[in-house]
């Protein structure tokens, strides 16, 4: 926390949690999808559902999905822009259980990829992504992050960390989950620096690796 966190962020109003944080959740979803989203079903939970309309939360989520930053003055026009760009979107009210009141579930589809993301806006524009395709994750968009999907088997963690280590990439956090023994596994790796495309490709070419996604550190605009 520094002086420019106190005198900032530069953002489009009215609420850092309901607006700026919502834009960043949308951005995270777009970056994770890795392509222009063509379809988005967005479930608003708790306070996002109750007071989101007046705070422009749906606009902010869409703006993020369209690639806008939290200080983009196009945010109020996000619905029209989404329609122009052919994004088929739908909002609904949902109950995600005992989670932060400012939470959302987004099902996104592009030409090639699809995903389901669950995230909360926890104040001051900060976000926590806590669910991805049914896996528990904990990502805040503050580190360049690699997400890997593969079958649960021995040696995967070692192969991934070897590639990263040999490339001189320092790991900030690393977590791996599996849906069942021998089932599908998801690993999230937060790095101190952005990996080169070659490193990501090397990870993609690892035996058994099914999917490698990358999300850069989220900016704040302004």
């Amino acid at each position: 926390m520094g002086i420019f966190d106190i005198l900032g962020p530069v953002m489009v109003g009215p609420s850092s949690s309901h607006t700026a944080g919502a834009v960043r959740i949308g951005q995270f979803g777009r970056l994770l999808l890795g392509e222009e989203p063509g379809r988005a079903v967005i479930g608003l939970h708790g306070s996002f559902a109750a007071t989101g309309e007046g705070h422009g939360t749906p606009l902010a989520l869409l703006a993020g999905l369209l690639g806008m930053d939290p200080d983009d003055e196009g945010i109020p026009a996000a619905m029209e822009i989404a329609r122009e760009r052919g994004l088929d979107f739908r909002f609904e009210t949902t109950d995600l259980g005992e989670v932060h009141p400012n939470s959302v579930r987004m099902a996104l589809k592009g030409e090639d990829a699809a995903l389901e993301l669950r995230a909360s806006s926890v104040g001051g524009g900060r976000i926590q992504v806590w669910g991805l395709d049914g896996f528990p994750v904990f990502l805040e968009g503050v580190y360049p992050t690699v997400l890997l999907v593969y079958p649960d088997r021995p040696g995967m963690l070692a192969m991934v960390t070897t590639i990263l280590g040999n490339a001189g990439m320092n790991i900030a956090t690393i977590k791996a989950h599996r849906d069942s023994r021998g089932g599908q596994a998801l690993m999230t790796v937060e790095l101190d620096h952005t990996p080169a495309v070659g490193i990501l490709n090397a990870l993609r070419h690892l035996p058994y690796m099914e999917q490698v996604r990358f999300v850069p550190r989220l900016g704040f605009g302004g």
């Binding site: 926390m1 520094g2 002086i3 420019f4 106190i6 005198l7 900032g8 962020p9 530069v10 953002m11 489009v12 109003g13 009215p14 609420s15 850092s16 607006t19 700026a20 306070s47 109750a50 007071t51 309309e53 007046g54 705070h55 422009g56 606009l59 200080d71 003055e73 945010i75 109020p76 104040g123 001051g124 524009g125 302004g222």
Partner: protein
């Protein structure tokens, strides 16, 4: 020297030891923590100030209408009132209130602002610092320094208490912005670090216990008008301190007390929109006179 950051008295002691003004201690600390060059940080602060000025100009120049219909160009109306010569205490004081309304209304209407320290309290600092700087002919450089002191005060409040209405009520949002602005104003006018401390203590003492009760859960009523109150409170507190009046308690003491009070404020008065003004019957289309489009 590394600073034990976190309390205003620690920053004051550092200023005394280095025989330097408070703003330079905050700037040096920020440079050390972020690893960035002080001149780059000053440029970033000028950019923040530029965005704040744009928000103010927008709200004063064009009536801001919120989607809910609760905000209907109040700042624009005040600008006309100021020009009419009817101001109660002269145009500067009216400009102070109008600027606070302007920035807060731009925020309410999904315009671009600097959250300072939060979006809900974004009108206080620009109103207080710009109005006094313009009135007293202070330079942009002096204004930048005042903002570093204001930001540093905000860091201390974040460390010792809270800047969140959901955690500490409106005293933690508009109250904190007001205290930051009061400290910044003392810096702007060349006051001592001790006078900054007194001004911060006065400003927060004056709003101790203020609840957060946003009508319809929106950052509109009473938030926009409390921004004007926060700016006026900042000027009053700075002026009392600059005149040489001393607070009975240190800023750190008052900040910590504000934090303790905040934790004891019942939940319905902490941004849940269940208590206070938010518990009144919803202002309907009678009050918005069709501006909401539902009439």
């Amino acid at each position: 020297m590394t600073l034990v950051a976190g309390t205003l008295s620690a920053y004051r002691a550092a200023a005394l030891e280095r025989d330097a003004p408070l703003w330079s201690v905050f700037l040096a600390e920020e440079a050390a923590q972020s690893g960035r060059d002080p001149s780059a940080l000053e440029a970033l602060m000028r950019e923040r100030i530029r965005v704040m000025r744009q928000s103010a100009a927008r709200g004063l120049g064009n009536p801001q209408m919120s989607r809910s219909g609760l905000i209907r160009g109040g700042a624009h109306r005040m600008a006309a009132w100021m020009d009419s010569g009817a101001s109660l205490l002269g145009p500067a004081f009216t400009r102070l209130a109008a600027t606070a309304l302007a920035v807060a209304e731009v925020n309410a209407c999904m315009g671009r602002i600097v959250a300072a320290p939060t979006a809900g309290a974004c009108g206080v600092l620009p109103a207080a610092l710009f109005t006094v700087a313009d009135e007293k002919g202070r330079s942009e450089e002096e204004l930048v320094r005042a903002f570093f002191t204001a930001g540093g005060v905000g860091l201390v409040i974040e460390h010792l208490a809270s800047l969140s209405g959901a955690e500490g009520g409106c005293q933690a949002e508009v109250g904190s912005a007001s205290a930051m602005a009061a400290g910044g104003l003392v810096e702007l006018m060349g006051g001592t670090p001790l006078q900054v401390d007194h001004a911060v203590a006065f400003a927060l003492s004056n709003v101790m216990g203020l609840i957060c009760d946003p009508v319809q859960g929106l950052v509109e009523v009473p938030c926009v008008y409390r921004n004007a109150m926060g700016a006026a409170n900042a000027v009053v507190s700075a002026e009392i301190a600059l005149a040489g009046v001393e607070s009975a308690f240190t800023a750190d003491q008052v900040i910590e007390t504000m934090g303790r009070v905040g934790r004891r404020i019942p939940e319905e008065f902490r941004e849940t929109a269940r208590g206070g003004l938010a518990s009144l019957p919803a202002p309907g289309c009678d009050s918005c006179r069709g501006a909401c489009g539902n009439a």
